[in-house]
């Protein structure tokens, strides 16, 4: 007989609290604090270093060398929202958002492609890195090294040039 009293107590409680569930797909919902959704790349900041593609565990981010361009390709279909790319990015161009609803009827919607212009080595004429990396290096190295002409050369040509210069300095004294 006590169960009727208990049931009434439950009923009273339910009326007091009201509805707590949401009609989710039809009503927008705010994910809780700290939840991880799809990463978004700020293409104005990206320098095309490829660090994100190195750490991407499911290979959702791929870094492709197209000679004239360096292409960074992000496929959300493979992304597991681990946030490794955000951790690795040296210029904070990748930020995770809370957006986790990626369902679409077109596969192309899940691709993000960034293409960055490459620069040529002045001696061997090969494409070796993106223009943005060289600009960033020029900016940061200026405090340490006065002559920054060497940034126009690829690493292999820098080795040859510097070894030639080392011998030149020796011959002078």
């Amino acid at each position: 007989m006590a169960s009727i009293g208990k049931r009434l107590w439950y009923l009273k409680k339910a009326i007091e609290i009201g509805t707590v569930t949401k009609r989710y797909p039809f009503e927008p919902t705010e994910p809780p604090e700290g939840s991880r959704g799809k990463p978004v790349i700020d293409f104005t900041k990206c320098i095309g270093c490829g660090a994100c593609a190195n750490v991407c565990t499911p290979q959702a981010l791929r870094f492709i060398d197209l000679k004239e361009y360096k292409r960074l390709e992000l496929f959300y279909g493979r992304c597991i929202f681990c946030g490794m790319c955000q951790e690795a990015c040296p210029v904070d161009a990748i930020q995770l958002t809370k957006d986790f609803e990626l369902a679409t009827d077109d596969l192309n919607d899940l691709y993000v492609v960034i293409e960055l212009k490459s620069v040529r080595c002045e001696i061997c004429n090969k494409y070796f890195t993106t223009k943005r990396i060289i600009l960033k290096i020029n900016d940061e190295v200026r405090d340490v090294i006065e002559e920054i002409e060497y940034t126009k050369l690829c690493p292999e040509c820098r080795r040859k040039e510097s070894s030639t210069k080392l011998v030149g300095w020796r011959a002078l004294g």
Partner: protein
Amino acid sequence: MSEGNKSYRIHVVDLSTCIGCETCQEVCSFINNDKAFIKVYKVHGGIPVPLNCRHCEKAACMEVCPTLAIYRDESGAVLINPARCIGCKLCIMACPFGIPEMDPVDKVVIKCDLCSLRRSNGLSPACSAMCPSAAILYGSPEEVLKLAQSRVAERIARAKVLGELELGLKSWLL
């Protein structure tokens, strides 16, 4: 930073003594899994220059590294901590000598660490230990300077002797 630090060591390549035998390159690739960090370049049509990381006093790679993975140890060598490296290759592009290289398997940057494992056991780097003509010197600045001075003095003395002989030799050995 060299003053007052007793563990400070320098690595000097004596180009006039180097015979270009590439022993340093071979021994370096032997102890570093087939990856030579010291390479002998032939410039001006044959003068050998063994080129390795210069361990610069003002290192550009240290300056640009976004994760502070590149640091300087107590003996003055510039090392890379592979656990912190994200493989962004900024150091490769910042190095005036083009020294750091990408490890395609581990996706981290590797370079000459002056044989940190050998040094921790009290040995000198493999290139300087194996050089048959003692062209690669490693030691405290005072030691190396003394050796270099004695070599220069010897060379001047030989040149003087040759100059005094004036024999019109066709073949000279300095």
